[in-house]
């Protein structure tokens, strides 16, 4: 697919990269991509590619809408024809509804109806990302369709989230009340989706309470940002601390954090601009490894910096999270520890970049793939 020149090298290259992550057979994007001998090598086997594909199409469809383009539109139609019925995860359906709504696709009404009919006892069993994606999808659906019949279910979702996935004392969201291991811990991704869904709901429904929680939690999260601009991965929602910094993901630094930082900047919250700049500059070597995370030829963004694990990574993470929680302290990025690069790239990352930066005209340096100098 030929990508036209754009004022933003970032967007142009991101679209090109996605086209190199694309599988013509099932109209899906890759689960994971690496560069081997200067060539992109994709993994199309992992079933998570379905979620990543939805995420990628979301970014592309938003881009198309803003720039009046038709990239991947036929592919998306074919993806829906083949894969709509195979999307089983409720969270994925929520994100799909979001995508369908912004392009006023014929499937959006049916999907919104399906999601609005899910009973509370099933919604409560979802995890934070899933319920927030459903909430986002339904809110976006209402925003575009003005289907008043959806308002009751959207309000129900808001109350369900605030009653079951929200720690009133710290303002942090809760990953899942069902999970005994995870109930005190929440990931950065979960926090991002919670904030974004609160913000969009607040804007569409003029809900001042949601807006206040958005502002207050955003300030708390900004205050937990690392000195080098990094975003911690794992948080204790009862103590409002970072219990594990790693893996520090490029997608958090260049896209997902801005899902709440850009709205926060529009609201005039203090310190946001610096937070954005630090977050982006992390990718240009302002990190513990002084590593340039973005390479331009071929275009590629290294997924993360992670700790070299002593034992199985997940087990070590859980241990570290519990230890820091017991000690009631923030995790630290200690220079002498051994850190390694995770040299893959996932398609959803690029999808989020395109989504976030399509309608963001500031930070021209980053659009030109350069470090931002104040």
């Amino acid at each position: 697919m030929r990508i036209m020149k754009n004022n933003s090298i970032l967007l142009e290259k991101s679209l090109e990269l996605l086209s190199n992550m694309f599988n013509d057979n099932d109209f899906c994007f890759s689960f994971s991509t690496r560069i081997i001998d200067g060539r992109y090598v994709n993994d199309f086997d992992n079933p998570l590619k379905l979620r990543y594909t939805i995420n990628s199409y979301l970014g592309i469809m938003k881009y198309n809408k803003i720039f009046s383009k038709n990239y991947f539109t036929n592919a998306f139609e074919k993806f829906l024809d083949i894969n709509l019925r195979t999307v089983k995860n409720i969270g994925d359906k929520g994100l799909l509804l979001y995508t369908l709504s912004i392009i006023d696709n014929k499937y959006s009404q049916k999907l919104a109806k399906e999601l609005s009919e899910i009973k509370t006892e099933f919604l409560i069993k979802l995890n934070l990302q899933e319920i927030c994606w459903v909430f986002l999808g339904m809110t976006k659906y209402y925003e575009y369709s003005k289907d008043n019949g959806s308002i009751t279910s959207i309000d129900k979702l808001f109350k369900l989230i605030m009653n079951n996935f929200f720690n009133k004392d710290t303002l942090f969201p809760i990953h899942s009340k069902q999970s005994k291991i995870r109930k005190n811990f929440v990931s950065f991704g979960g926090i991002v989706y919670f904030l974004k869904s609160l913000y969009e709901y607040a804007q569409v429904f003029n809900n001042n309470y949601a807006l206040i929680i958005f502002k207050e939690l955003t300030e708390r999260i900004i205050n937990l940002q690392g000195k080098d601009g990094s975003w911690g991965w794992f948080y204790n929602n009862k103590q409002a601390t970072v219990v594990d910094w790693f893996q520090i993901y490029s997608v958090h630094q260049d896209a997902m954090a801005h899902l709440f930082l850009f709205p926060a900047k529009n609201l005039g919250i203090t310190g946001v601009d610096q937070s954005i700049i630090k977050s982006l500059n992390w990718l240009f070597g302002d990190n513990i490894l002084k590593q340039q995370m973005i390479q331009t030829e071929p275009f590629f963004i290294i997924r993360s910096i992670k700790r070299e694990p002593f034992i199985e990574e997940r087990a070590e993470r859980i241990l570290r999270a519990y230890m820091n929680s017991v000690l009631k302290k923030n995790d630290e990025i200690i220079p002498k520890k051994s850190y390694v690069l995770n040299e893959e790239c996932r398609s959803y990352h690029i999808g989020w970049i395109i989504y976030v930066w399509s309608d963001q005209n500031n930070y021209k340096d980053f659009h030109n793939l350069n470090k931002i100098h104040n």
């Binding site: 605030m162 720690n167 004392d169 710290t170 309470y209």
Partner: protein, 253 residues
Amino acid sequence: MKIVILSSFPKFDKLQHKVIFLTEVLKKNYISDLILIYSHKSLFDHYKELKKRLHQIKLKARTNNVNLLEVANRESLENLAKKHGLMIYKFDRFSDRKCIELLKDYNCDLAINFSGEYIPKTILDIPKHGVISAHYGKLPEIRGGDSIRWTIYLNFPMYVSHFFLTNVIDMGDIALLSKVTVKKGDSILTIRKKCQQKALEGHLKILDKIYFGQLELVKQYPEMGSTYYRMGKYLAKKVDEILRNNLYAYYEE
């Protein structure tokens, strides 16, 4: 005029503004009869409530030099009602079938909600004029829980709003708005006491207005305000600091 007072947790019901209200309302010669209905009558309900409020009670005692023994020895609403020979009825919940039947048989003109509990729709429809309650915050702008704290946080003037209950929280017609004077040095607890005083004064005014046919109601619409929810520790602490540092915008001398 026949009125019902709705309250809860009879063994803890010692708030002075309710006792004063009862004393004053019985002086009104147009009140032909009055009964007191309680919800949450069981010892287990009282135990759960005490557990929930223990921290608040200790904090009140510590920060306001309140003598808990003195509070425990105060006259309760129930005792005062008994002294005046009023009928008192107790139920587990207002939604109990027998409670609803009692209210229907009693055929009152107005029910006054002092319970702080959710009043089911089946009860709301029974009194001739409805069920009136006092909300410690300005309606329609500030609906929902922790309204005193939200008023301070949002830098709104402090009001007590008397309104008729509907099945949607804090959305009923507004009967009276009463400004509450907040002075430098006031804490949440002292502001709440002032609100309680305005609440009882407002209920008495409204009774007069109903009796003399002077009641005017203002309708609320959803878009006129926002609903807020109970504040947790982080935001509550922020509000306490606003008051401690005298940063609230609506102090009066």
